[in-house]
């Protein structure tokens, strides 16, 4: 009799312990996995730490405040913002189209959308050049009909950035749409709401967290864009020389010390972090 009682008590304690365990942090991870996790973290953080250590701090303010740096930063923010807006305008409807298509069509559309993601940006730049360049498929027509030349202009920068950044927005918005499902939209329809009303007052608010996350990713990608821009838009100071191009120019620049490249890099990192935090704090307010 006593034996059975002991067993009962033990099993109760075990159950209680199991119920508690998920709350104890780290209990579920095999200890061996800590090693690769820390290596991964180091891979991400150490280069940036190195950059900070290597910086010639007394000269940083001058490098950052220089006319070239200010113009590159201004252009970067302006073009990245423009391409993000462009991506939202075309990306949300595209995501909607993919999410509401049948599985085969959706699979095809998704593959096409993610193509720029797996393609080297340089290749994207060449492709854009052959599409919109003076002798390009569309570019020649544009020049003949309207006298518009796109390559090596600020517009080219925005197009190149949009090309590489759009997949990020589409993928996260499409994921949010799939998670949200169509049940709320169905309810809205039975309550008498037409398609626009449903989109505006139900679909958009429901995917807002995903849309914001996608916007952050999209903006970050646009801000850091280099390869496609360099080929398609060139490297003209004040017109197409965004921060990444300015950093590249400074790094390889004749006579200019690499210190200003480091200083510009630090500036870009700080600007990115500030924007990330601004969007984060904005994102937490409309709680869903």
């Amino acid at each position: 009799m006593t034996v059975t009682e002991t067993v009962t008590v033990t099993s109760t304690e075990t159950v209680a312990a199991i119920k508690r365990s998920p709350i104890r942090t780290g209990a579920a991870i095999p200890r061996l996995l800590y090693i690769p996790a820390v290596v991964g973290l180091a891979l991400l953080i150490l280069p940036i730490v190195g950059l900070f250590l290597r910086a010639d701090w007394p000269r940083v303010p001058a490098a950052i405040m220089s006319v070239e740096a200010q113009s590159a930063l201004g252009l970067s923010l302006q073009t990245a913002l423009s391409s993000t807006v462009l991506c939202i305008i075309v990306g949300v409807p595209l995501a909607l189209l993919i999410a509401r298509s049948g599985s085969r069509v959706a699979g095809l559309l998704r593959a096409l959308t993610t193509l720029p993601l797996v393609m080297p940006p340089l290749v994207g730049g060449i492709a854009l050049l052959y599409l919109l360049g003076r002798n390009g498929l569309v570019g020649s027509g544009l020049e003949l009909a309207f006298g518009i030349r796109i390559p090596f202009t600020t517009a080219a920068v925005v197009i190149a950035q949009s090309f590489v950044a759009l997949p990020f927005l589409v993928i996260s918005v499409e994921g949010a749409l799939r998670t949200a499902g169509t049940r709320f939209e169905t309810v809205a329809a039975t309550l008498g709401a037409g398609r626009w009303m449903v989109f505006r007052r139900v679909t958009l608010p429901l995917i807002m967290p995903g849309l914001l996350a996608g916007t952050v990713l999209c903006f970050a990608r646009a801000l850091g864009e280099f390869g496609a821009t360099a080929l398609f838009a060139g490297n003209a100071a004040g017109i197409t020389r965004t921060m990444p191009l300015a950093i590249y120019t400074a790094f390889n620049g004749a006579g200019v010390s690499q210190d200003s490249a480091i200083a510009l890099s630090l500036l870009l990192i700080v600007v990115s972090i500030v924007i990330l935090f601004l969007l984060r704090s904005w994102r937490t307010t409309p709680e869903l």
């Binding site: 039975t190 309550l191 008498g192 709401a193 608010p205 807002m208 869903l288």
Partner: protein
Amino acid sequence: MMVDVDLLVHRGPFTLDVSVSVAPGETLALLGPNGSGKSTMLAAIAGLLTPDRGTIVVGGKVLTQVADASDASDALGRNSQVPAHRRRIGLLGQDPLLFPHLSALENVAFGLRSQGITASLARARARQWIEDVGLASFADRRPAELSGGQQQRIAIARVLATEPDVLLFDEPMAALDVQNASLVRTLLRERLADRHAARHATAAGRGTGRSSVAPATIVVTHNVVDALVLADRVAILDRGRIIDIGVVARVLGQPANLFAATLVGLNLIEGIVETPELVRTPDGRRFSSENQLPPVGTEVSVVFPPSAVTVSREASMPAPAMPNSWRATLELLEPGANGIRLTFCDDTVAAEAPPTELLAQRLSAGDAVTASIDPAAVTVYPRRPAVPEVPKVPEVPKVPAVPKGPGKDLP
């Protein structure tokens, strides 16, 4: 408004083939087990799926018209399907599905604003509807801050606020605990009863004034209580077909066949009246009732609740020749609605007894027992033809009746 539904929907091996009418202000309960096609039927009425063939007419307006593709003569009339948002058909499922980003008030106002009513007027009306469901102090809360029962009450307010021509409820109490289910059921009964009287809401300035006719309501459920409390008529759905339809007391009190009886929790045995006092079943059992039996020779259904069946070990207690008792072998003991449910080998009859009684007799599966029934609990009525009646409609529709399909044959 008057609803006429005639539907044929194929979903893989499943076929839904129903034809039913619901009058203004009337509530029809659709009773059936899972997979009998109840929700499919509502989805078709709400315009969320297009039937393979069928017609849905509400208040004289054709909402769905799909002619059979194989029947050329039928294809003369063009097919049409009014989209869900233009049907004026309200649908409430077992999940409240309140918009999570809107307050309770904005949720209720949503449908009104969709109708083009200004935001301030929509909110004022929504507030009245929220008061009607007893949640006035919760109007500004988000759905996440409400309990499941409160959410469902807001969802009821939201669907009623649009004053639809047809109200469809798909197991509205299924996701709630017993207490909340009872609360919501009572609320629904009050709201539905409201509409039988002339729509006072219009006079109170709440109504849109355009629908002075009370809506027709269809409640899908697998719970008999819902049908008893809410419905005027009940239809029993089995594998996509209506096997019985009529007033609640008759359909639930005098089930048409074993399927319907099982659904409402009654035992049903078919037999024939042998003498003015006795009914004989094909397997040789005999039943008597305290009520007058139909004339000798009538084919009848014998119905009694499981709780009226007494099971005892003693073989000698009732004489074997006595009516309302027989020998049986216990097959299974399982939890039942009123105690422990007993089933017997090779028999559709089930008994229910309190656990104490079983304990006292130490009964277990495989035991040979004598089952006996209290004659006061036995109901005998002529077997009903297994064809659905033509739906009784209290009000003559203003439009020519929709052609109905041929009488549904039954298994």
